[in-house]
């Protein structure tokens, strides 16, 4: 799986990030959840966000996807400063979050879920032919193979459900796909398929942010690793230039004084 990184180095050099946070801070009562955090996401690149529980990963993610507003600092899309009023506003800017279990309606079929809340309409009625055709195209584009679009998603496996949620995010125009623990609660086979799908997303030019506790997966899929500790970005490393040991040191704090961006 490692040969993926080298071929995509140009994408970083190619210019400005699709989505970035600049010196964002967030405080909850006495808890400083985020301190001057910076992160940049480029098209065609997978960034892994790692850190201990409470390190600020989910707060930073929520700022990026519009779920919370930062106290200070700013979020930029294509270099332009934006203020997301809600996750829906972020979605309109092409920033999509994929939730593993919250996103699907089990009793509805695959196509209905790919088009949830956004069904194609023709006149007064739903254009079902177009819906099934485009749902199939959306899955094919990501090499997701689900035998029947008519299967209720409640009958599918965790990996398939994850894939459908991702397909919807991309179909809705997501250029940035944020995934929270995409491989948690999946079997080994399914984990591998989801990791492959993440790489396909970046090959297709999406900027991908993966929050994960699993360093093996992180090293399998990420081009760059951003480590958070106590609300700060403790370091950013290119995968090729670092080791799991160094990342662990950054996570626990032993390497905090090393220069960021190796």
């Amino acid at each position: 799986m490692a040969e993926h990184t080298s071929g995509r180095d140009h994408s970083r050099a190619a210019g400005r990030p699709v989505l970035a946070a600049r010196k964002v801070s967030k405080r909850y009562g006495h808890v400083q959840a985020l301190v001057d955090a910076d992160i940049e996401l480029f098209a065609g690149e997978v960034v892994a966000l790692v850190g201990d529980n409470g390190a600020g990963k989910s707060t930073l993610t929520k700022v990026l996807c519009g779920a919370i507003a930062p106290d200070a600092g700013e979020v930029q899309v294509d270099g332009q400063t934006v203020r997301f009023a809600s996750p829906r506003a972020a979605k309109q800017h092409g920033v999509a979050v994929v939730y593993q279990d919250l996103a699907l309606v089990d009793s509805r079929d695959v196509a209905h879920n790919v088009f949830l809340g956004d069904v194609p309409v023709r006149g007064l009625t739903v254009d079902r032919r177009r819906m099934y055709r485009e749902a199939r195209a959306a899955l094919d584009a990501l090499r997701i193979d689900i035998p029947s679009l008519h299967t209720p998603v409640g009958a599918l496996s965790g990996g398939q459900r994850q894939a459908i949620a991702i397909a919807r995010a991309v179909r809705e125009g997501g250029r940035v796909v944020i995934m929270d623990e995409p491989t948690a609660a999946l079997g080994v086979q399914e984990q591998r398929k989801v990791l492959r799908l993440i790489q396909d997303l970046s090959t297709a030019g999406k900027a991908v942010l993966v929050i994960s506790h699993n360093l093996e997966h992180v090293f399998g899929v990420a081009d760059r690793i951003v480590v958070m500790r106590s609300g700060r970005v403790a370091g950013t490393r290119r995968k090729a230039d670092t080791t799991p040991e160094e990342i662990v040191r950054l996570i626990v704090g032993a390497a905090e004084l090393q220069p960021a961006e190796g």
């Binding site: 309606v105 035998p147 029947s148 209720p152 409640g154 009958a155």
Partner: protein
């Protein structure tokens, strides 16, 4: 380079079995697996059984009579189907039916209002009451069970207050009665025509329109629905409004049919309505169900009542049989759902 694909099974030798989704074989397979198919088989079995047991059952006159008997139940149950699928419940329909029937009778018989205008008035009032049910339920996040239980009591009281506790009767309105209780071609009751119209319109709204899709998403997973931008509160409220309007329509037809009403009309009627929806396979907890199923559920209830009378069984047995059928229907539905994991 790994070439495995999501969903192609767990084994290494798994081959993708994708075929054309719209192939005839899979269409027939889906049809047979559809919940409505099982309910249809149940209704058909009951039909055959009653036809064998009693010769008077399977005559056109009697069958149309059955449809007429379930017509108002069916009309209200169509609305209740929307409410159920959206993940809510409306216990106030029986009282609302009684109250709006009293209002309809008062307006036309004592007030001299044109019955068509009065009918539109009670339909609008029903929609308004549904708006109240829906708004309180969604705005204040109070379970609809409680909101509509309160409304059940309020509206029964309102029916008694409006009528002074006395029956209202004696509607003289030939044109209106023609529309609500005549026989088309001397055979098809007008009430049955209304029922079919509402069933077709309801099924279309639920299965074909964006609103219908939103109703399923809202009841199936409100969090997901909200996340993709569906207005969950408004969708649920609309389901209550539709139900209220249909209750208004049913009470307007009732007055044309019986030419009057008693303030106790519709007592415990909500239970029959809920029974039709449940027997029809709609999920108690929202997310799945259909208007067609509800129609079949109402038909099963109608055939049971009618068949028991024709067989000369004591009327006291009717609720026993009806209750048993509800329990059996839910058992079957739950078992099937567990096997399909949905």
């Amino acid at each position: 380079m790994q070439q495995d694909v999501i969903g192609s099974g767990s084994g290494s030798g798994a081959v993708a079995t994708r075929t054309n989704d719209d192939a005839l074989s899979s269409y027939v397979g889906r049809l047979v697996r559809a919940r409505e198919f099982g309910i249809f088989c149940g209704a058909l079995a009951l039909f055959v059984l009653l036809s064998i047991l009693t010769p008077q059952f399977a005559t056109p006159e009697n069958l149309f009579n059955v449809v007429r008997q379930i017509s108002l139940l069916g009309i209200i149950a169509v609305g209740m189907t929307f409410v159920f699928i959206s993940g809510e419940l409306d216990l106030s329909v029986g009282s609302m039916y009684g109250f709006l029937a009293v209002v309809m009778a008062q307006l036309t018989i004592n007030g001299g209002v044109d019955p068509f205008l009065a009918a539109l008035t009670v339909i609008a009032m029903g929609a308004g009451l549904g708006l109240v049910n829906g708004t309180i339920t969604t705005r204040f996040a109070i379970p609809s069970f409680i909101v509509t239980l309160g409304m059940l009591a309020v509206l029964r009281g309102a029916a008694l207050l409006t009528s002074g506790g006395l029956p209202v009767s004696g509607l003289e309105a030939p044109t209106y009665r023609l529309v609500t209780s005549s026989y088309l071609f001397g055979l098809v009751p007008a009430q049955a025509v209304w029922l079919i119209l509402i069933v077709v319109a309801g099924a279309w709204l639920l299965r074909r329109t964006r609103f219908g899709y939103d109703v399923y998403a809202t009841g199936g997973n409100p969090t997901a629905a909200r996340h993709v931008g569906i207005n969950v509160a408004r969708t649920k409220t609309m389901c209550f409004v539709i139900t209220g309007a249909l209750v208004g329509l049913a009470s307007a037809i009732l007055i044309g049919w019986l030419r009057g009403t008693s303030p106790l009309t519709g007592e415990a009627f909500e239970l029959d309505v809920i029974a039709a929806v449940i027997i029809g396979g709609t999920n108690l907890f929202g997310g799945s169900g259909s208007v067609t199923g509800t129609f079949l559920g109402a038909a099963i209830i109608g055939m049971l009542s009618n068949g028991l009378v024709l067989l000369g069984v004591s009327a006291y047995w009717e609720p026993v049989v009806k209750g048993a059928v509800i329990i059996i229907a839910v058992l079957v539905s739950v078992t099937v759902r567990r096997r399909q994991k949905v």
